[in-house]
């Protein structure tokens, strides 16, 4: 919690007429005016459009209508979510001026719930990175310490909520891109079960891993926002035709009787302050009535390697459409192949090019079995190992990030060091399971630490129960 009101209380005050949506928006826009130059959370602030949406909410309230659970709540969108007629850039030069002719399903659902979209947030180009330093439009700074990164790739969305620019935001998580920046910015971040939230209109990085999820000030807001965006969408073939469970009843459930797993063979590499915070989390949960059970997940260690084959492989194909033929930027050249090379050479940044090359190589004739094929086997092993663990426990607890927010430039020269930021978050993407980061205490330099709660597919209710318990404990200041 960082002193900003919850989205629930904002929506409630607007629905009851205590406040106008416009005044809530203006308050957020004022904070943007004050600090956005310093933070650079946004690629685009939609002040005028947000004002007219807020006014419309106020008119509906005046007519006695209920605009929905997010009535008048200012929301920021990661700039890889398509917004009709509004530039959607993926923080890439190749899409700098592209305006989608449609809204992503999540954007439609937010609008139907009464949300007011305040802007499009910065990200590592095409969501590839862990610091938002890979944006073609300059990095986002951590609002808690502007000499440090906000994490990534959804750094802009995490920073927007942490700085009070928006009450809620959406990010996308392919290997940790919601949970790691949430941890570094001291907010709640959720990667839902794969298939729980429609990917239609999310510009793909790695389709089998990508999932959209919320950044919020607290766990209850995350539950609210997730309930709004989750649910089957026939427009996404990987969307699961299943009713998304209600989360609100879980929030006050407590953890009594829950079995919470500690992974004894978790890869090392987390800083001591992070390790201490996770240990404290286990103590808190045990004290609250949970049973802590040791489990092993041998494949956990291979997650990072498998991920850096599968994700780039899919990306190499997903990003092939940026060829300058139909949309996006084009660099003219003498023939088609030269145009492709000039366009893609100028349009993509170095990290994107690196991953396209990695992925192209991993899928190439003669290398497929050794790289991509083997990574798929690891993915199956990972699923088996987690399934075995979940026979004994309800949720698992790990760090969300190996460290607190790090200074700019400290990992940019070493891609592998940057990739290690995702060690603890990647397995949930490979299995398609839900996981979330909840702020729990502070570490070095007083910076926030995120504890990650992992659950099996559609295990969000239990996951939220545990996260809420950790949040209550942190609010009592027991471990700060």
């Amino acid at each position: 919690m960082n002193g900003f009101p919850s989205a629930r209380s904002i929506a409630e005050s607007i629905r009851t007429g205590e406040r106008s949506a416009r005044s809530v928006l203006d308050e957020h826009l004022a904070r943007i005016n004050e600090r956005e130059n310093e933070v650079h959370a946004f690629n685009l602030v939609l002040a005028e459009q947000a004002a007219s949406s807020a006014d419309e909410i106020d008119r509906r309230i005046a007519r006695g209508e209920n605009p929905g659970p997010l009535a008048g709540v200012p929301v920021a969108l990661k700039d890889n979510l398509c917004t009709r007629g509004i530039p959607t850039t993926c923080s890439s030069k190749i899409l700098q001026d592209w305006k989608p002719p449609y809204d992503a399903t999540v954007v439609t659902r937010l609008a139907n719930a009464g949300a007011v979209i305040v802007g499009k947030t910065n990200l590592d180009e095409f969501a590839m990175g862990s610091s938002t330093e890979n944006s073609a439009f300059g990095p986002t700074r951590n609002p808690l310490d502007v000499t440090r990164v906000p994490g990534g790739s959804s750094g802009g969305s995490a920073a927007a909520v942490a700085a009070g620019f928006a009450s809620l935001s959406l990010g996308s998580d392919t290997g940790g891109s919601i949970r790691q920046p949430a941890a570094l910015c001291g907010v709640v971040g959720v990667k839902p079960t794969y298939g729980a939230v429609s990917r239609l209109g999310l510009i793909a990085f790695a389709s089998s891993l990508d999932q959209i999820g919320p950044f919020t000030h607290d766990v209850a807001d995350a539950a609210l926002m997730l309930e709004v965006i989750a649910g089957h969408d026939p427009g996404d073939s990987t969307s699961i035709p299943q009713h998304f469970p209600s989360l609100a009843p879980s929030l006050d459930r407590g953890v009594s009787g829950l079995r919470i797993g500690r992974i004894t063979d978790l890869p090392e590499g987390a800083d001591q302050d992070v390790v201490d915070a996770v240990d404290a989390a286990f103590d808190t949960l045990a004290a609250a009535g949970a049973e802590i059970i040791d489990v092993t997940i041998p494949a956990f260690t291979y997650g990072l390697t498998a991920y850096y084959l599968i994700a780039p492989a899919e990306a190499s194909s997903n990003l092939a459409r940026y060829d300058g033929v139909r949309f996006g930027s084009r660099v003219a050249a003498s023939d088609t192949n030269a145009m492709y090379m000039a366009t893609r050479g100028a349009g993509f940044g170095p990290e994107v090019k690196r991953r396209i090359m990695l992925g192209t190589y991993a899928l190439s004739a003669g290398y497929y079995d050794a790289y991509y094929g083997k990574a798929l086997k690891v993915r199956r092993l990972m699923a088996n190992d987690f399934a075995a663990a979940y026979e004994h426990v309800d949720v698992l607890i790990t760090p969300a990030s190996p460290s607190v927010a790090f200074p700019f430039g400290s990992k940019t020269e070493d891609p592998l060091a940057m990739y290690l930021c995702d060690t603890y978050t990647i397995p949930s993407n490979l299995t398609g399971h839900p996981a979330m980061s909840v702020p729990f205490g502070t570490g070095e330099h007083g910076l926030p630490i995120g504890v990650q709660v992992l659950a099996p597919a559609f295990g969000e209710p239990t996951m939220f129960a545990v996260a809420a318990e950790l949040e209550r404990s942190a609010a009592r200041g027991e471990h700060v």
């Binding site: 209109g201 073939s237 990987t238 194909s317 139909r326």
Partner: protein
């Protein structure tokens, strides 16, 4: 006939065909845009068709159903399957990958029986999406040397089934028969209109040559074959080219070759070394497709009778050879049901087949001449009331008028059966007029009969029945 052997300098050809057919669906394979040929360019498009960022494919159920029909019609195993991405850059390929099926196709291990009983194996028949259509301006009309290119994305995303034969074809005639038979099946089951000239059916041929019973030779893939006739010419040319290479001490290079209709040759398009590495991998935007026994059974149950079975049925009823051209022709035109209807009215089925084949070429599957009208005409012909020539005349009138009473039409021509006494008189006259021919005929020269019959026909102004005259002459001689 499809079994005419092709050999050249002691080599035989080994041919496998890859046939792409556009499915006759309302909408595209993965989006709701119309699947329609001939519309204004770039009108049947949408975010999925154009591969816009954030767009996602949703599989068209009707396309799966039609693809399953093809699988069932070709005796394939219809199985759970997956979709894969075939990655390559080309301006008319919107996503820079084609969604296709790779290691787990929908239909596998089928067969197609040609009209002469030869069976060609079908390796697989899988679903995939079509590309857009490029038009190259200037130069030769091909991309190299053109001034610019226009792309129409209406075709992009249209559902295709690629039907891959086993290398069981041994002659140009067999290849043509395979394509004709396949087309007949596709039309019969409503899967495609299968028009090569409109591009809704496209045929590529893999051609190699070998000494009989030797290992397969190196193959070349022949593209740009735009008609069944060209297919025969192209593979004949290509096989001869390969034989000449081998006989000249060279070897065949594996490559893709372009058939040029104008010079009647194939030309190198790209060699194996230049071939793309398609980097196939499972499409993560789509889930596994398991049609399930129930769906497969319902497709099987709804399957109409296929051309081969219809040919067998017609041959049985008419007494014609199942492999005869007449049977194949009317079944291809879809007129076999009509013939059976005529026969059911008591008319001679063989006569019905002959008349329909000869006179109903443009009549389609449901001729305007009613089965009853044709049956009446055939009854008159068989009873001898009308000669073969007269029958043809009346039939032509029936077709022109779209039906009518055969007896009334015959009367307008003054066609009446000759009395036996009249016929006797004409025969007497013929023998008297040409005793020389009669002598030769009596001496056993069959040719001599022609002059005698000709006389009778002329004298009777064509009203005599040739068969009756022959019979009479023969009885007189004995």
């Amino acid at each position: 006939m499809s079994d005419a052997a092709w050999t050249h300098d002691g080599y035989e050809m080994v041919v496998g065909l890859e046939v792409h057919v556009e499915l006759a669906t309302k909408t595209k394979l993965f989006s709701a845009s119309a699947n329609r040929f001939g519309d204004e360019p770039n009108t049947n498009i949408d975010p999925v068709t154009l591969g816009l960022p954030g767009a996602l494919p949703v599989l068209n159920r009707q396309a799966v159903e039609l693809a399953m029909r093809i699988g069932v019609a070709l005796d394939c195993t219809v199985q759970p399957c997956t979709f894969a991405r075939k990655n390559y850059f080309y301006p008319d390929m919107p996503k820079a990958y084609q969604i296709s099926q790779y290691d787990q196709p929908l239909n596998v291990d089928g067969r197609l029986e040609l009209s002469d009983g030869i069976v060609i194996g079908v390796e697989r028949a899988h679903l995939e999406e079509d590309t857009g259509k490029s038009t190259h301006i200037g130069g030769t009309g091909r991309i190299h040397g053109s001034e610019g290119s226009l792309i129409d994305f209406n075709r992009a995303g249209v559902p295709l089934v690629e039907i891959v034969s086993r290398p069981d074809i041994r002659s140009p005639e067999q290849a043509k028969a395979y394509v004709n038979e396949l087309r007949g099946i596709l039309v019969a089951i409503g899967a495609s209109d299968a028009r090569m000239e409109e591009g809704s059916m496209r045929v590529d041929a893999n051609v190699s040559v070998r000494r009989p019973d030797a290992e397969f030779g190196t193959r070349c893939e022949i593209k740009n074959v735009n008609s069944v006739r060209s297919l025969g010419r192209a593979i004949d040319y290509e096989a001869r080219r390969q034989v000449a290479l081998i006989e000249g001490g060279e070897s065949v290079r594996q490559e893709t070759r372009h058939w040029d209709e104008n010079d009647g040759r194939t030309h190198t398009l790209r060699s194996k070394e230049d071939a793309d590495d398609y980097r196939y991998f499972p499409d993560p935007d789509l889930v596994r497709l398991d049609p399930g026994e129930e769906w497969i059974s319902s497709v099987r149950a709804a399957m109409p009778m296929l051309p081969a079975a219809r040919r067998r049925r017609l041959a049985e009823v008419t007494g014609f050879d199942v492999a005869s051209e007449a049977v194949a022709t009317v079944v291809e035109r879809g007129q076999d049901e009509y013939i059976l209807e005529v026969a059911a009215l008591g008319a001679a089925a063989d006569r019905a087949l002959t008349h329909v084949k000869e006179a109903f070429a443009d009549a389609g599957a449901a001729p305007k001449v009613s089965a009853a009208d044709l049956a009446s005409l055939i009854a008159m012909e068989v009873s001898g009331e009308l000669t073969a020539t007269q029958t043809k005349t009346v039939l032509a009138d029936l077709v022109a008028a779209g039906g009518g009473d055969a007896r009334a039409i015959a009367a307008t021509h003054g066609f009446e059966a000759l009395e036996t006494s009249e016929l006797d008189r004409f025969v007497d006259e013929a023998i008297a007029a040409d005793p020389d021919a009669w002598a030769k005929f009596c001496a056993g020269e069959p040719k001599a009969m022609g002059a005698l019959v000709g006389y009778v026909m002329k004298a009777s102004k064509g009203q005599a029945d040739g068969k009756a005259v022959t019979a009479l002459l023969q009885s007189r001689r004995s």
